[in-house]
Symmetry: C2
Subunit: 271 residues, 2 copies
């Protein structure tokens, strides 16, 4: 299964999928947790997982993403000046088990210096806590209709240097970069905004910024894409991430499945 998943249609056409279904969780608790410091938020995530608790989601938003939503909605978001927010969703089958997890997670957040722990147990409050997260893309598109998204991933513990490095690349290249993503997976959605940058400069700037972000993620033991895939856009960068022997082996596996190169040609493999 792992061979086909992520092969981007280059190995097979899937004609049938048998799904293993899990019952929908009956109980859900959502937490919005503001921090003055991204490192503290990242430390909390590691600590939650070290406590054997597996939340359904641990999302993070950095300040610039929350501020963009504020400007879109023209209203103040809770703790809008916090350096970072975590959004943690706990779920399960039994109220007591989820509550026990929630107690531990709440305490860990505060121990790591969270400003507050906002809790949602019903759909209306939940929608309010998730409002900023859900509107980030809209807010960024509204401010800069042209923008570019990367989705590098690193081991969870390397999220703080990744975030810091990405912001630094933005500063050095004179371009606005706004991040949010999946803290539990170490996966960051990096939005590079064109804003008022002239077209010509943007065309040369954007690949430079992307490559710097890829190299940073790789230097931290990560990967150039967590969810979005290599496809056509990133195929020329694959040799940054994999050596010749690895790419050659991948080509040979493709050859085994698709000797006539009829399955999604032109994807993944560099020129």
């Amino acid at each position: 299964m792992q061979l086909l998943i992520g092969s981007e249609g280059t190995l097979a056409v899937v004609t049938k999928i048998v799904l293993r279904l899990l019952p929908l969780p009956k109980v859900q608790v959502d937490l919005l947790v503001p921090y003055d410091d991204f490192q503290a938020a990242a430390d909390t995530v590691s600590d939650i997982i070290a406590h054997h608790i597996v939340p359904a989601t641990i999302e993070f938003m950095e300040r610039d993403s929350v501020l963009a939503v504020e400007r879109l909605l023209q209203k103040e978001m809770p703790h809008h000046d916090a350096a970072a927010h975590l959004l943690i969703q706990l779920d399960g089958h039994r109220r007591e088990a989820v509550d026990a997890d929630y107690e531990v997670v709440g305490e860990l957040c505060l121990e790591h210096g969270a400003r507050d722990v906002l809790v949602a147990r019903d759909q209306r409050t939940r929608d309010r806590l998730w409002e900023a997260r859900r509107l980030i893309i809209d807010a960024l598109n509204d401010e800069s209709p042209v923008n570019h998204m990367e989705d590098v991933a690193v081991p969870r513990a390397e999220l703080p240097p990744l975030l810091q490095g990405i912001k630094e690349i933005g500063r050095q290249r004179g371009v606005r970069v706004v991040c949010f993503g999946h803290a539990g997976d170490g996966n960051v959605h990096v939005n590079v905004l064109k804003d008022g940058i002239p077209d010509e400069r943007w065309e040369t700037l954007m690949p430079t910024v992307s490559e710097e972000i890829y190299r940073l993620a790789l230097s931290l033991g990560g990967t150039i894409t967590g969810e979005h895939g290599i496809g056509a856009t990133r195929r020329q960068y694959l040799p940054l991430a994999l050596d010749d022997a690895q790419i050659e082996l991948m080509r040979r596996i493709r050859e085994a499945f698709d000797p006539n190169h009829i399955l999604n040609p032109g994807k993944i493999f560099p020129g």
Copy 2:
């Protein structure tokens, strides 16, 4: 990872493994649950999983395996005349969570007609509950030093017809067959005992019995081996489980990794 795992050394030599460690569970509860009917035990397993509870292990033993241990130890085992036993191990990080799971599991067992639910919370009681399971192989070897083990697997819901069919094969072929295994995985360890069968008859009988067991497992949507692998012993039976196109694709993947056929030659692929 899934491509290499189970490839039995035919695709690569592993030189480095990075393990993701989980903290050892702090709390453990073990249950030994006797049933008068294997179907009821299997239904309990499905119901436990439908309740979103994931035990560390759910083992089963059929009566003949417990009786063999009794003869070895020359003492009476608890509920030795039960048709089947489940051994369920629950673990976790927090006492309350494990206890909550244990309450639900215990009730489900009784609802499905378990005779009793024997509980172990300390190592001494735990060792007593697991004694029969740990000694099955010794007991069978003691009674029949020559025997043959298969390890077919089927979807969990098909365990009862699999067990029933295996016992029937044994009766028809005049050979003693004793089963135990991993009820949570649908994986059955089938022990075919030579007992007093003459060597010559055993040599022809054993492959027949094995093939009948494989065909039964496949007819129930299962596989000819759950854990033990194809290796050299089962490679002539691979075409029962996979069609020509599937085996040819596996050969081509092996070719991609090992064009010189130096990695564990002679394994997996039929003649």
